[in-house]
Symmetry: C2
Subunit: 352 residues, 2 copies
């Protein structure tokens, strides 16, 4: 463990330039600089050692020049994203040396996190980890942004009731695997779609889905949905958008709810696919809501209180896809868009 004030070498994953279409590994490169492991005087922040970095589809949006959720990455600077880190030095009253935290950090070994770093302000974004009797990497997934997204999106925005019919796309992903388990805990009937046999098996045999299908093998998605939901869909948890959303719309029931958590099918296209069946919103009086994790911050304590016991009792499980080392980051991040990952994609920078 390095000491405060040491000079250390700092491997970084640099964003090369704005991306159009599918991102490639060569859109990022590894470099090594040095960093003084100390928060400089006058900075109101923390210096952290990064442990686990999260690969999330929304990061693709930040690789474009246009704005989406948040501002674009800066060419020549390290990528940023959610991660788990340990505080090595602090000039912020809320954090002390040795604290474990999760939030927005840099894709590098050590990061200086300050409110003015172009990262999220630390008061908003950097949460102290209180419970360490679960894998720390969970704070990039189950207990982090994807977890609260699944929780807020399903429980708050979908108003689910026992016995309702729930469909989840990208169902074995970081968010989808939790939505299915939440739905089952509530007594819903839940079907997931995913892009490989391995993922479908996971959904059925490990993640508690009532059934699941490989969308790549269904030439007629409408027929598939009618097979799995002969009475229609009450709740659609959308992680993909595009044609899937369009086909789901005609299979929704009256007073159905659609939570739009992601639209991964549309992030790499130049011209978005047109959705033709929006009149179903009217005919079936559907609520369709786009949402983002950071609007639901206030639910985090309740979320943790709800989910931790389930984890300890084995009632909620979580599948992670871990790769080792920053050098593995580009392939892991790019792999999200071909569905290479099985479960939540994590890059291990260092174990504590």
């Amino acid at each position: 463990m390095p000491n405060v004030g040491d000079e250390a070498s700092n491997k970084q994953l640099i964003f090369r330039d704005y991306v159009t279409g599918l991102p490639k590994e060569s859109d990022m490169y590894v470099t090594t600089s040095t960093i003084k492991l100390k928060v400089p005087e006058g900075f109101h922040g923390v210096l952290v050692k990064n442990l686990y970095l999260s690969c999330d589809p929304y990061m693709r949006l930040r690789m474009s020049r246009v704005e989406g959720y948040s501002s674009s990455y800066t060419p020549g600077a390290p990528l940023t994203g959610y991660g788990v880190a340990k505080v090595l030095d602090s000039r912020h009253p809320d954090y002390k040396v040795g604290d474990l935290v999760w939030g927005i950090t840099g894709w590098e070994e050590y990061s200086l996190i300050t409110p003015t770093e172009g990262l999220k302000s630390i008061e908003q974004g950097l949460k102290k980890i209180q419970h360490t009797d679960v894998p720390l990497s969970y704070y990039t997934g189950l207990l982090g942004m994807p977890g609260i997204s699944a929780y807020a999106g399903f429980y708050e925005l979908c108003s689910p009731k026992k016995g309702e019919y729930v469909f989840v796309s990208a169902a074995s992903g970081a968010v989808g695997q939790l939505v299915g388990q939440f739905a089952k805990l509530l007594g819903c009937y839940v079907i997931g779609s995913a892009g490989s046999k391995e993922k479908v098996d996971l959904l059925k045999n490990k993640l508690g889905y009532d059934d699941a299908f490989n969308y790549k093998e269904e030439h007629d998605l409408d027929a598939a949905l009618k097979r799995y939901f002969p009475e229609g869909i009450d709740i659609y948890f959308d992680n993909v958008g595009g044609k899937t959303l369009d086909t789901v719309l005609v299979n929704m029931r009256v007073h159905g709810r659609i939570a739009v958590c992601g639209m991964i099918s549309q992030y790499n296209v130049h011209q978005p696919e047109g959705v033709q069946n929006l009149a179903c919103l009217l005919f079936k009086r559907i609520h369709m809501v786009g949402f983002a994790f950071f609007d639901h911050h206030h639910l985090y304590p309740k979320f943790i209180e709800t989910v931790l016991p389930y984890i300890k009792e084995g009632k909620i499980v979580y599948v992670e896809d871990m790769v080792e080392g920053l050098e593995s980051g580009p392939a892991a991040l790019v792999g999200l868009f071909s569905g290479r990952n099985v479960g939540k994609q994590v890059v291990v920078v260092a174990r504590e």
Copy 2:
């Protein structure tokens, strides 16, 4: 006034056959039959004399074979729709001879309305008119289905706040002209679009809109919206769907709300237009809700209590487009889809 038990001639407007594309006047025809002005024994209903019939865009959906809001019209039978009528005979405890009512009735001079008529059940649908110190025709518009649609859609579903930016399409129509006035009463900034100079003048000079434009003269709707809403749109009250909705999406503000009341641009097309900008729902965390009047029945008493004083004080006005006689019905109904009507389209069958 005919007497109970009389045989009377009954002019009817008959639905010829299922329609594809734009409806034509020849999709309906007038015929005359006879009717005994008495509720037959064993029927739990009322016999009414129809006074005012309402032309509403949703009726186009009932002219197709497919289902939309409600079941298709029956070829060879009279059209049905909202109207104002007077009870001539009753075998229902809630209605007595002489009562004025509004609800679903037939496009004919006299209608037998029973729970089993293929019309809406009278308990659900036929409301007694308590206030007759306003024009009775208002119960097809301002005080009827369009009124409660505007009220529930705007106040309940859009969660409007003083000072917010509101856009209304088909703004001089039966619903739109009220949404604008509700928005102004609450202190919003409200812009409407309509399809002629006459309608735009009406919006600006009579209906209290802050400004309005003729969408047929705006080759670049995106530029027009940016001109009227340089800071973006908080609330979009959608009556048209299609390309307008698509362009509005990119001009919405974060946490915007879209109430989908109608999609008149899509009712006559074989292949609906694709909406490409749905990812804005996600990026801007937008709530988009399709709704229908009949889900908000319970608000009717509160609605009447709110709106009647405004009418009497002249704070809410209402523009009607009246045509005389059932024979004028086909042109009036078809005219909705070319925008011929200026304000709420009503067919006068008889004055009380």
